[in-house]
Symmetry: C2
Subunit: 151 residues, 2 copies
DNA sequence: CCTTGACCTAAAGTTAGGTTTAGGAATTAC
DNA sequence: GTAATTCCTAAACCTAACTTTAGGTCAAGG
């Protein structure tokens, strides 16, 4: 009977593996916008399965919910997103992911160098400020693994 | 004059870029063990600079404080750690990092495949349960980016 | 000596991403 | 028709990793 009545929150939870409470939380954060049936219960479109799957994958990639919302907001309103729409979103994803992999790889290579040369504390050590910790509080680059230069 | 009196918490903060409150917190978590001077103020060894640097780098790699503590606890007690000691610790690091890079790379490759084939919702999509989310609650693999098989 | 800046503790507050609880109302199953 | 599910909201609670606040003590410079 429930053909185009939409999915209940429980059904969505079963299909995605998410907790019902998590789905409600995502709605509160604006990631999904279900409508309500006559009795006031949430009803979801099938396309929301894909939205939630996107959320789950993006989280594994390390994105925050506001970042994910920003991506989802790029999807067209008023119609069900097409494959092309999703592919567009996923491309941006790929770039962010590439960047993340690059950062980690650089970090690893630096670590290798430090292990190899045994420096671990020399001013030459490249392991400083690899991410944007500095940007947070306007600090300059910080030297890690030991002494600052000239000390 | 302060030659072997140790470093104050402020000096340590300046040298590492950490907040004083963060350093106190790390002590509370057992990551560093300063002694106290006559007035009850914390005094740190120079080797603690390296410990804190290690903490900062390990956090960038995604380790939790308890995990980092576990690594630091492998350092010898009673003497200042040598280069070899630090190299030993860093090796474990490298392995964890390699694993992380591998996971992300696989994830990216799967994403590429999904963008390329436009599937994004088909049962063949490889983007399911890439990490151990399932292990948390004993769930089986979950199909992401859309429909479960046979639906 | 005395002021100012650095330091102390304990406890409460913060953010992200949720979960749990309490008290009801709607749906579904028999 | 009624019992068992499922769902509702609001608010409290949770963990990690800190920061902030409040009320006081220590240490260094002039």
């Amino acid at each position: 009977m429930p053909l185009n009545d939409g999915l209940s929150i429980g059904a969505l939870a079963d299909r995605t593996g998410l907790a019902v409470s998590a789905i409600r939380y995502y709605e509160a954060q604006g990631l999904i916008k279900p409508w309500r049936n006559a009795g006031g219960q949430r009803r979801f479109e099938r396309a929301d399965l894909r939205r939630l799957s996107f959320v789950m994958i993006a989280q594994q990639f390390g994105f925050t919910l506001p970042q994910i919302k920003a991506e989802l907001d790029r999807l067209p309103g008023g119609r069900t997103p097409t494959k092309a729409d999703w592919a567009m979103i996923s491309e941006g994803f790929r770039d962010a992911l590439d960047e993340r992999i690059n950062t980690l790889t650089k970090l690893r290579d630096n670590l290798d160098g430090c292990i190899g040369c045994g420096c671990l504390s020399l001013e030459a050590c490249a392991l400083y400020n690899p991410t944007d910790r500095a940007a947070k509080k306007g600090q300059g680059p910080r030297y890690l693994m030991g002494d600052a230069p000239g000390v």
